[in-house]
């Protein structure tokens, strides 16, 4: 299978050529010129990129939504119940929910900071959607493949806490404020171990692009074997980053009604909820990419399928942990983040450096 970009560039060229020929047929001089301009390289590039992004985003979102379905079904089994039942095997539950939240009224709290309130949620969602772009499905199916893709992804990730904090503050509600503060503190506390784990991977592979990291793992060994401590740390920190039980304190519904998103309604809330799963999808994708060899696998099915299968398996463990534990307190999360996960990540980094220096790989 050839590259998505190449395929779509060919398609775009054909499409724009078709448009240009239609314009040419009109025998109007300025339209023919316009048709010629359409066939120039920058326009073709622009249009094909737009198409790539649209296709990629829709595919990734669909798989993100599949995560919600997966969680509903698997969690149901863990709890000895059936999970969602809407439509065939419950596949239509997400769409039913989506239609429901879209039809809801948009409510802004009276004393809130309107502009920030509206802005924060979109900043949060935008950061989530941008993250989609950073994670390739395979070395052929991706949006960007810059050399610093890992750094770009992490930088976008770090944008989340700001929007959460702003959203929590601008809602003018005590619950959202506490939720926002908690979210910010927790995300920052867990981001550093997360980053250190990524750094160790980078040290091992010597590459900052996902394609390079996966290629290295394909040649040598899946990194979960030498960097098992790092993988564990990353996994725990990833659960915390995606605000899932046992680390779902920012929206612990038992004490803070819905955390920082309490005042959000309608489709904003719906997308925020979906965004939690998108982030979980991205984090399990990252885990797959960094430690499980990404799309590497025997070639009897597509590389993308390998990648997705591994991602779903990683997310299964997320669900399993959620089914098994209760949520822990904020201070305990922070202590864990700073006192346990950080040293573990540092040790992992040292192991990676030692392995590299010793020339094992």
């Amino acid at each position: 299978m050839s590259n998505l970009y190449i395929e779509l560039t060919n398609f775009t060229e054909w499409l724009l050529g078709l448009v240009a020929s239609i314009l040419d047929w009109t025998k109007l001089g300025f339209l023919s010129d316009f048709g010629e301009w359409l066939q120039t390289a920058p326009v073709v590039d622009f249009v094909s990129t737009l198409l790539v992004v649209a296709i990629f985003l829709i595919t990734a979102m669909m798989f993100g939504l599949c995560f919600i379905w997966q969680e509903r079904k698997f969690l149901g089994r863990f709890m000895d119940r059936r999970g969602t039942q809407v439509g065939f095997l419950g596949f239509f539950q997400n769409f039913a929910d989506g239609i429901k939240v879209i039809l809801k009224e948009h409510i802004v709290p009276k004393d809130s900071d309107h502009r920030l309130f509206e802005l924060a949620i979109f900043a949060y969602l935008a950061s989530t959607f941008m993250l989609f772009g950073c994670i390739p499905f395979s070395d052929n199916f991706y949006v960007i493949n810059v050399n610093l893709a890992v750094l770009l992804g992490v930088a976008i990730f770090a944008f989340g806490p700001f929007s959460i904090l702003i959203g929590g503050w601008s809602s003018n509600n005590k619950f959202t404020l506490i939720g926002g503060m908690r979210a910010a503190a927790q995300l920052i506390a867990l981001e550093i171990p997360l980053l250190l784990c990524i750094v160790s991977v980078v040290v091992m592979t010597g590459d900052l692009s996902f394609v390079g990291i996966v290629a290295w793992q394909e040649q040598n060994i899946w990194l979960i074997v030498p960097l098992c401590i790092g993988a564990l740390t990353f996994f725990i920190a990833a659960i915390g980053e995606s605000e899932r039980i046992p680390f779902d304190l920012p929206e612990a519904e038992a004490e803070l009604v819905e955390g920082w998103a309490t005042e959000y309604g309608d489709v904003r809330w719906g997308l925020q909820m979906a965004s939690d799963y998108f982030r979980a999808y991205i984090l399990s994708g990252l885990f797959t990419m960094l430690f499980l060899g990404g799309w590497a696998g025997p070639e009897f099915i597509w590389a993308e399928a390998w990648y997705l299968a591994k991602t779903f398996i990683v997310f299964f463990f997320f669900i399993w942990v959620r089914a098994a534990t209760v949520r822990i307190r904020t201070d305990q999360i922070l202590k864990m983040g700073w006192r346990r996960l950080l040293p573990m990540a540092v040790i992992n980094l040292l192991i990676a450096v030692a392995l590299k220096v010793a020339g094992v790989f």
Partner: protein, 362 residues
């Protein structure tokens, strides 16, 4: 109030409070410096209402005091009325009552465990304990015809005898439940996050607990061996062989532990009561109007000491019926339990209290 403190209303509509009540907490950061429970949102005027009902009509109303342990309220009302009438239920009825009351205690504790599960964020605990509770609900449904509000005790006995093969069914359920209880326990006891949330939280020593009027599992978790089934035996509890479950830590974990152990003891009592049930009548006919007088009666509810004080003026309706709900007092003692802990501990502390607003507000 300094500028770094704030009051938070947790309630009356809040995911953590099971029922309709309000917990106002003053926070400094995330630490609680002051707490004030506010109740009355579900006040139905039960005590006034029963003054306009005949004695036999109050029996199903007593169920409605608490949906979680309706049978123990029902039984307490019947026991109090029997004392007022100066009669005693037949022996068989007493044994049936004890067996059913203990089944109800297990049901109530499982409902409580469900609430604890949701409060602490583990929905597995919730669904599993609901599933186990279903076994007992089916048993009680088979016996009394209803799943929650049984209306089973009668003044002077019980409504009906055991259905066919009931003893066999109960023993089967108990055997099955014993196995499942072990699984259920490992969800909490072997679960480090659960221990992190519960151990050392809201410690209370026995003397303080006694002064605050706490009763029931919370009191026993503080190391006070107080159980009215032993101290002031009613029905045939004096003949039953069981231990009072206590714990000395006095924290949330101890309170959880006491209830789990109590379920095991309850199973013991059920087995004994079933095997020793004598033959005989199950109900005596009682007169319509009791003699004049007043009577007090207290029993060990799943939540603690519940007491009824009944005054009769010789008519067919009670003159005054006062209900002492264990939760009412336990809730009034919650501020000292909460102060100094984090807002995240509120669900843990209040969750193990087994809140039931129906009986608190009456």
């Amino acid at each position: 109030m300094s500028s770094d403190e704030m009051w938070i209303n947790m309630g009356p509509q809040h995911p953590f409070n099971h029922g309709l009540w309000n917990l106002r907490v003053k926070l400094k950061g995330e630490t609680i410096t002051q707490a004030e429970p506010i109740i009355g949102y579900l006040h139905r005027g039960w005590e006034k209402m029963v003054e306009n009902r005949t004695y036999s009509q109050i029996v199903p109303l007593a169920d409605r005091l608490c949906y979680g342990s309706s049978l123990s309220w029902n039984h307490l009302y019947c026991l109090t009325a029997e004392k007022l009438y100066g009669i005693e239920a037949p022996d068989r009825a007493k044994y049936i009552r004890v067996a059913v009351l203990e089944l109800q205690r297990i049901t109530s504790h499982l409902t409580w465990l469900m609430a604890v599960g949701t409060d602490l964020g583990s929905y597995t605990i919730m669904t599993w304990s609901i599933r186990e509770r279903e076994l007992f609900l089916d048993l009680l449904c088979k016996l009394s015809g209803a799943r929650m509000t049984y209306n089973y005790c009668r003044i002077g006995g019980v409504r009906n005898d055991y259905p066919e093969n009931y003893e066999r069914d109960v023993l089967r359920v108990l055997d099955e439940f014993e196995k499942r209880l072990r699984d259920l326990e490992s969800l909490m006891d072997e679960n480090e996050p659960f221990l992190m949330r519960t151990v050392g939280i809201s410690k209370m020593d026995g003397k303080t607990a006694m002064n605050l009027g706490l009763t029931g599992p919370i009191m026993r978790a503080s190391g006070v061996d107080m159980d009215l089934r032993k101290l002031d035996p009613y029905e045939v509890y004096a003949d039953m062989k069981f231990e009072v479950c206590t714990h000395t830590d006095g924290d949330v974990y101890a309170r959880y532990r006491v209830r789990m152990d109590e379920m095991r003891e309850s199973m013991k009592i059920v087995r004994q009561a079933l095997s020793e049930t004598p033959a005989g009548p199950i109900r005596v006919k009682v007169p319509r109007c009791p003699p004049k007088g007043n009577v007090v009666c207290h029993v060990e509810d799943p939540r603690g000491e519940s007491l009824m004080y009944m005054v009769s003026d010789g008519s067919e309706k009670p003159y005054r019926l006062k209900v002492r709900s264990p939760n009412f007092v336990n809730l009034s003692a919650s501020p000292p339990m909460l102060v100094g802990f984090k807002i995240s501990d509120v669900p843990a502390i209040m969750g193990v209290m087994d809140m039931c607003i129906g009986e608190t507000d009456r």
